[in-house]
Symmetry: D2
Subunit: 244 residues, 4 copies
Amino acid sequence: MPETIKVTVWNEYDDHQKIPEIASVYPDGMHNAIAGFLNKESGISAGVSIITDPEQGLSHQILDDTGVLIWWGHIHHGAVQDDLAKRVVEKVQRGMGIIFLHSAHQSKPFMGLLGTTGRLGWREAREKSRVWTASPAHPIADGVPEQFLLDNEEMYSEPFGIPEPDATVFISWFEGGNVFRSGVTFQRDLGRIFYFQGGHETFPTYHNPHVQRIITNAVKWAKPTMRAPSLDCPNMEALEKIKG
Amino acid sequence: MPETIKVTVWNEYDDHQKIPEIASVYPDGMHNAIAGFLNKESGISAGVSIITDPEQGLSHQILDDTGVLIWWGHIHHGAVQDDLAKRVVEKVQRGMGIIFLHSAHQSKPFMGLLGTTGRLGWREAREKSRVWTASPAHPIADGVPEQFLLDNEEMYSEPFGIPEPDATVFISWFEGGNVFRSGVTFQRDLGRIFYFQGGHETFPTYHNPHVQRIITNAVKWAKPTMRAPSLDCPNMEALEKIKG
Amino acid sequence: MPETIKVTVWNEYDDHQKIPEIASVYPDGMHNAIAGFLNKESGISAGVSIITDPEQGLSHQILDDTGVLIWWGHIHHGAVQDDLAKRVVEKVQRGMGIIFLHSAHQSKPFMGLLGTTGRLGWREAREKSRVWTASPAHPIADGVPEQFLLDNEEMYSEPFGIPEPDATVFISWFEGGNVFRSGVTFQRDLGRIFYFQGGHETFPTYHNPHVQRIITNAVKWAKPTMRAPSLDCPNMEALEKIKG
Amino acid sequence: MPETIKVTVWNEYDDHQKIPEIASVYPDGMHNAIAGFLNKESGISAGVSIITDPEQGLSHQILDDTGVLIWWGHIHHGAVQDDLAKRVVEKVQRGMGIIFLHSAHQSKPFMGLLGTTGRLGWREAREKSRVWTASPAHPIADGVPEQFLLDNEEMYSEPFGIPEPDATVFISWFEGGNVFRSGVTFQRDLGRIFYFQGGHETFPTYHNPHVQRIITNAVKWAKPTMRAPSLDCPNMEALEKIKG
């Protein structure tokens, strides 16, 4: 029997999310909504942590017990402590999977892992978005239709400041005339990374069954194949005789 | 002074292109229209060849004198002789650059070089297309705006059957709700490859200054860095003593 | 319970392999040796087919029942019929996994899928080779040590005529002074591809437990995520209203 | 006439480099040796800056006037100020090219741009190294032979903690039994990155004509195609009418 994948859904959740417009869509916060649908999947066990927890919810204990971290942040990117952002980066390098959602494209761990700015264009206009599957055979697209509609999304637009992805899984169309690589994968040392654009806090994107399927698939795809306590630079003995 | 880049614009041009709807847009054929704007660029010398020429316009003499081949074909893909398609593939592997335009996504040389089907969805509805620059620093995007409009295009849609590109330079938006990776690069052995979606035969796409800029840039980018008469498998002497 | 992966190990096996030097290492042929260790793995069911079988062992019936095809060929590359090589290419594009071993780097399906020459340097000198794991977290490297020794290998050398791989899993060192990207992955449409250099016919490479582990891992990695009966170009209805 | 490429060769150079073993090989420091051969090339103008200069030699004035920065550092990685390392990362994202040499694989800008650890194995044993050209058509390999010998090198070994490169240009063989991807390229936003392994401070690697050719080629390849004063996230107006 395959081992259970432990997921932690991290959110900058705090008072700002208790404003009525958000609370009406995600009464318990997006993190609990996401953990909720993940916990319905056999083989996944999801918990949550938030920025107001001790060590901003990013203690060694939590991260070392996490197979895949899901990151949602937006207006509090700057409040995440540098040392904790660096800790997340290192845990990914040592094997932890990570899924960045929506506005996490400019979180410190995203920029730290990708080495780019994550810049993009944006617009809040309650516009239609269509998510197209560009790589139908990718495990993250398993069971996802050729395209699906999100009635209201915050628009994110190219040019998107990312390295050329290992796989371009989804590309989105926006009613107002824009396109965006909305689902992309990367590898950094031992850890797998997936970014997914969907999910503005005032829209019910995480209640959409296709989005839930994508995130669930991504958790399974990003689960660690191995974890290393450290990745240093060993002084290696010669395997063959050196004449010198 | 940099060497002049010799370009050959190949077209399946024949009677079918003399039908009024096409002739009104490209009176001398698309190949001559493309060669025409390329020849205005200093450092580029462009000629043409067509499928009704001897050896279907793909003689060794022509190809060996061609730095970058531009390929436009559509309804006559099957008429290109297998041995000549293979010859084109080999010339690219040995260093010749190639630019595939529009419906060339299922030409024999395209599929032979990429190893994929080139499949895509399509629609002829005179719809608007917006070409977005996803990689603004790529040489092929030099001088191309963040996005530009084509009033009428044949729609090409994801999923596009290509390997993950070396660079995703352009992604297009279509009025009818589709997206498409419309400008992508690849390398095969010594040769550079660029595919560009724009260019249905009954629309004036190749008269658009941004499209002309893209194709001109692509010619400069795809020019050979080296050419090899053959790429075989040499039996190599040992450089170091083998104890055996 | 995960579905059993059906593997077919294809070999050009014929009289030439019955020569004593080869038969002493692989009395039943390499294909049976490879199928033998794969069949010890739960979840894998491996059969064999050879070039002297009907339809050269590549009938639709066999290929449609094969999740992952393993290909070993060398001196009879040219004898594989073009239409059957094309059939293999298409089955991979439609989802079948394929593993190319050793001299399969210039088989028709390899060149057809990669679009490159597969050229390399070579030497038969019974020299030592060390296989280094460049991507330790890749599923194909699971349980494979940082490096391992093959006492005698045919040397394969860079430059290796392949596209830049999706993942460079292994790189080999050769006693005579050469290096080679000996384990590389690619994706073509729906199908996964792994090339592994090890395995000259007169050396017991396929009896090495690390090599067996690599091939077993590769089978699990390359198993289809989906299969399509065809990959054509659908005429798509508009999803959004086109003003025209 | 093409514009002159301005290069700055940065070195952590200080008292430690004045020790006799190093000074006998590079009397004026490696930075001056590298600038020296670059300045012999028409179209390149190279200066130097070192860690003991104001702002550690990384002032805005210097970096904004630098087309390609060459970075050599080793035992003083930790002494580079975080804000200055971040400044270098941002200048690269905004278009400046960068070449990391040898032990710069764990400099702050390298890790900041790649998002990986840069970990590797190493050995100081005055052993032979052979640099193999894996991508002969890459501009950085222009004029570089299929392989060349360095009589004495510090050994760097796989596994090398880098993302899968955009291009694997060189792979090195080491006498003691190791291999290493010794020349690799990356893109981060608008900036090009090249890492080259050769160059231990007590060996005359930078006096080798092939190494000089590689670095010269890399400067030409990495020169900016465009530079942006900033890369932020614009709020974009809709291009098409949104029904809302």
